[in-house]
Symmetry: C2
Subunit: 632 residues, 2 copies
């Protein structure tokens, strides 16, 4: 449970306000998050691997090595990236918890990938061989550099978990090739899907090779100058209309926008480019203020998977892609490390608990790609062997796999590394950003600090911090106070404290064996939308602690129509294990036309209903569901 080899986490800045920890310094040892990580280790990783074996995505590498790939490539042109995200997930998992079986599976998969690498370092199963499109002939849609980025991130995960072996070698050769092809003396172009930017910065950090950072910087600077061809969705789709440092908000394809912003933040941090970092921070803040769902999810346009305009946040048409939620957490992690501001940790908590963790079914064998906030008609349970179209409408139930299956592998790599987001350290202290059951053991000025954190989070708000080991000098222990607990958090055993940037800070000598606890009042809270969000006008949501709640049709009396339910926000109440609400059923007049001079009819029935955590909806079978509940 406490391996010693790992050297870092998903982001390793050479300078930052907060220092990220490695799996040797932080580990989850029980409770809610341990269950999620174990589900990932036991089920999700293998689910992803077997699906990709079965439908030939892994076999693509074998056929590429054998020279037969042109005639027989499985899947769309960026399926390589799914294999790489799985490799990244496996690497983090192995860093968290060694396993001989998984190590063998991992190494075998890396061997197969490696065999497809060409002598000059290029590695992609869809381009460049005879009877395939030439390399870099379709930068708009080819996703070549996007795939490379994922390979490089997988290699960085391997390096940061203490192994400089085959995949890092493959990644170095690939990155060297990329530098030749697109570096200062190469083609001045960018990829249609940002991703390689952050990967290159990270590989540069992990290897010390400065050319990788230089190449990432070039990619960031080149974007926004319309070097990509026009496409149906317009160049805003891949952020090629405005240079990153001039953009005022996040727009276009949501995952592309967020990966780009994360890469730009990495470049800014490493090059000391304060203006660029500030531009990214402003964009993230603007998108958060007007382009984010209450679940932390982003992307309101299904057609082009893009951010909508400000306040265009329809719950029923929400795309709210799982990968965009993950990308959003990746960006906030970078901004948290660089600024130390608790708002970024709060945003991560919201999106991880309410968007990313909504994706996997409770058994880990099916996933949401899009995460609607309002399902009018119950969906249909997919067969275990059914490959879903990610563009199909309807949905309402999770699917085992998709023709474009970016989300399951993205969930896998996130869960395998999620503990690394829970706390950080600095010269003088430790910062606790997320809650659960975990331990932190790291070095600060004066010596080793070892803390054991326990809590019933996200269902219960009391967090206990037991000091296992501490230096005999004062250290600053920062405990994040969620915005909904501001002013109400009670710290026991820890006065005096100060509140700074979203954290209670206890600055004194800690004594081994002492217990500090902080209680956040976890009660059901009614939340109202900004009146400019037209799509949820006249409705309210309910949150309890860090969880967004939802009303699922299964919790209504038999025969009720969720589409004709209203409620009085004053009826919301906290229960021992959640929240309840008094719902009212209306019987809309049967009419041949849905617009009329009369206002709606009053309620005809009243009942009590349980509200469930949104992340758990559609786990009891097909159901209608809504996060936003109409007021009477």
């Amino acid at each position: 449970m406490n391996p010693t080899t790992p050297t870092g986490g998903p982001v390793g800045p050479s300078r930052s306000a907060l220092r990220p920890l490695s799996s040797s310094e932080i580990w989850i040892d029980g409770g809610y998050w341990a269950e999620k990580q174990q589900l990932n280790a036991d089920v999700i990783l293998e689910h992803c691997r077997t699906w990709m074996e079965r439908i030939g995505w892994i076999g693509n590498f074998d056929r590429a090595a054998a020279g037969t790939i042109a005639a027989d490539h499985a899947g769309i042109e960026f399926v390589d990236s799914e294999v790489y995200k799985l490799l990244e997930a496996m690497a983090w998992e192995l860093g968290r918890q060694p396993s001989e079986t998984l190590e063998a599976t991992y190494l075998s998969l890396v061997e197969r990938v490696s065999a497809a690498q060409e002598p000059d370092g290029y590695l992609h199963t869809s381009f460049g061989r005879a009877a395939q499109p030439p390399r870099y002939s379709d930068l708009e849609w080819g996703h070549e550099l996007y795939c490379f980025g994922h390979l490089i991130q997988a290699a960085v995960a391997r390096l940061r978990t203490g192994h400089d072996d085959l995949l890092p070698a493959v990644a170095r050769r690939l990155a060297d090739h990329l530098y030749d092809a697109f570096g200062p003396d190469g083609r001045p172009a960018v990829c249609g899907h940002p991703e390689v930017e952050m990967a290159l910065v990270e590989l540069g950090r992990a290897t010390g090779e400065e050319r990788y950072l230089e190449l990432a910087r070039l990619f960031v600077e080149r974007r926004g100058h319309r070097t990509l061809q026009q496409i149906d969705f317009g160049r805003e789709y891949f952020q090629d209309t405005v240079p990153v440092r001039d953009a005022t908000t996040l727009s276009g394809h949501a995952v592309r926008a967020l990966y780009l912003a994360a890469g730009a933040a990495d470049v800014a941090v490493e090059t000391g480019d304060a203006a660029l970092l500030d531009a990214v921070r402003r964009q993230a803040a603007a998108a958060r203020a007007a382009r984010t769902y209450i679940t932390g999810a982003v992307g309101s346009h299904r057609r082009d998977e893009s951010f909508g305009q400000d306040f265009e946040l329809p719950p029923d048409r929400a795309y709210a892609e799982t990968c965009a939620g993950i990308a959003s957490a990746m960006l906030d992690w970078r901004l948290l490390l660089s600024t130390g501001s608790g708002g970024h940790a709060a945003a991560m908590e919201r999106v991880l608990l309410n968007n990313v963790l909504t994706s996997p079914r409770e058994d880990g064998r099916a996933f949401f790609y899009a995460n609607t906030l309002h399902q009018r008609v119950p969906g249909t349970e997919a067969g275990d062997d059914e490959l879903a179209g990610h563009r199909a409408e309807g949905g309402g139930m999770r699917s085992p796999w998709f023709d474009v299956s970016c989300c399951p592998t993205n969930v896998a790599r996130t869960l395998a590394s999620v503990h690394l987001y829970f706390a950080t350290a600095s010269e003088r202290g430790v910062q606790l950003h997320q809650y659960g059951d975990y331990q932190v053991r790291t070095e600060v000025a004066g010596g080793t600090v070892h803390l054991r954190v326990t809590s019933g989070y996200p269902y219960d708000g009391t967090v206990h911090v037991e000091v296992v080991e501490a230096p005999d000098r004062a250290i600053a222990l920062a405990v994040r106070v969620p915005e909904w607990a501001a002013g109400a958090a009670e710290l026991s055993g820890g006065e005096p404290t100060t509140l700074a940037d979203g954290y209670l800070v206890l600055d004194r000598v800690l004594t081994p064996g002492e217990k500090i606890s902080v209680a956040f009042p976890i009660e059901a809270r009614v939340v109202h939308p900004d009146p400019r969000i037209d799509a949820v006008r006249g409705a309210f949501a309910v949150e309890r602690g860090p969880l967004v709640l939802a009303l699922e049709s299964l919790d209504l009396p038999a025969g009720w129509d969720l589409n004709a339910v209203t409620a009085d926000p004053a009826s919301v109440r906290t229960t021992s294990d959640g929240a309840a609400i008094t719902v009212e059923q209306h019987t809309p007049a049967e009419a041949d036309w849905p617009y009329r001079a009369e206002t709606p009819s009053p309620a005809t029935a009243r009942a009590e209903a349980t509200l469930i955590p949104y992340q758990r909806w559609a786990n009891r079978g097909p159901a209608a569901m809504r996060v936003w509940i109409p007021k009477d």
Copy 2:
């Protein structure tokens, strides 16, 4: 203005409750609609023709005839249909108002089309020649039969306007080929885009060839049995999951669904299949009750241009395609003729005035493809030479032409034939369905009836009917009463009357020279949405007579943000030329997160604003606009 050769209109059923009139029996002679028809004749037809010459869509036929098309085809694979819709528009226009210039242009265009027909009757510029995909190799997306349908409809328009010349001959050869290819002894398949069904029934009606009806019947019966391949959007997209006679509502791609329903109605009428006709009527009624925008527009999913689920009608994400509105009017015309029920005429009025006529810019040189009901951010005026992507987001201004340009030519053929929808006849009488300035001169039992209708419609509600000529026996004059005037319509000079199926019926001898008038109270009316339409909860719309009104940002005080405006519905008032409202401006709290415990702040300013007809929005330059106004 009163040609005598035409023999029919867009639909010519061999049996029906109401008999459609031809251009020799009904013509518009002034006012609002005359201006629209003249704009079409003077500007829109030529606009469409010159665009299609310029970008090579017409030239495709020349290159097909010359054998060079495979190497040089302009546009997507269904651009042939745009040329055919233009030919149909020209034919109706020539039937309405002869013009030597237009006749010459028309004949020259038909020659070029005709030259591309192959010896066996097949005619398509994208398929079947060397180096092109084989004929019927892509029924899902190839649109071959869809294009044929439009050619046939153009030929029917020529036949019904009194000319059995080259295009009808081309159409017969094409239909004969189709019968061989897909008839009882041919391939049991359907086209991915319904359209040919209604065209074949009509060609059968116009030529007396029963095989065409038989083929149409086969196409209708075959659909819904999953003969088409699975596609990304799912088979519901092209109505291939449920047989037409089993469907309970309209779903999937809106234009496809409506064209299919119209074709099925035609088949049902000609074959006396009451069950099929009833199925189509029920589907249309279900879609009208739960899947139609207040403008009469349909289609709430932009991604696949489809109907949404019941009550899923977001105003901002409305697709509300112009062509779907036209298709909806085509279906309601068929149902009106077969049932005589005024609800179908009311639906036609609503969609023509508020959806279809919103498409063309007032100068006739730019068009909306999608018709949003809520524009948050003012659009950008397109250049006169700018080809727009029909899939591009944003919009907010009309475009001169599109990569997929179905809407402008569809508007053109609709305007050229729109007078034919205004009235019908029956054995004993005449029915006035739509209002404007027009004359009807037709035969009923007992002799000729000639009526001159005048009104200031749609702005003024008084309709005058002058009897020019009438038989000396009693006839039944039916005058449609809009639903908003029910109970308030005043008829002068005409008692006693009865009200039946949406019509006031005056049943007596009419005297030449007598004047009958009916007054509908045209006042601004507040309309509330069904509470199940989540996207407009807490908002209201305003209608005045048959027009849906809108609030455009240009009518707000300088500096106001339309996105932060509310109003009290009680402040809506009728003005001499429209309607006005008292709007209230809110100053939303600047916040880093758009969901909070507090309810919105009260208004900080108040002002008067004019409401404009929705159909006229975005004619004064870029603007934000909303049909649904939030209540305070």
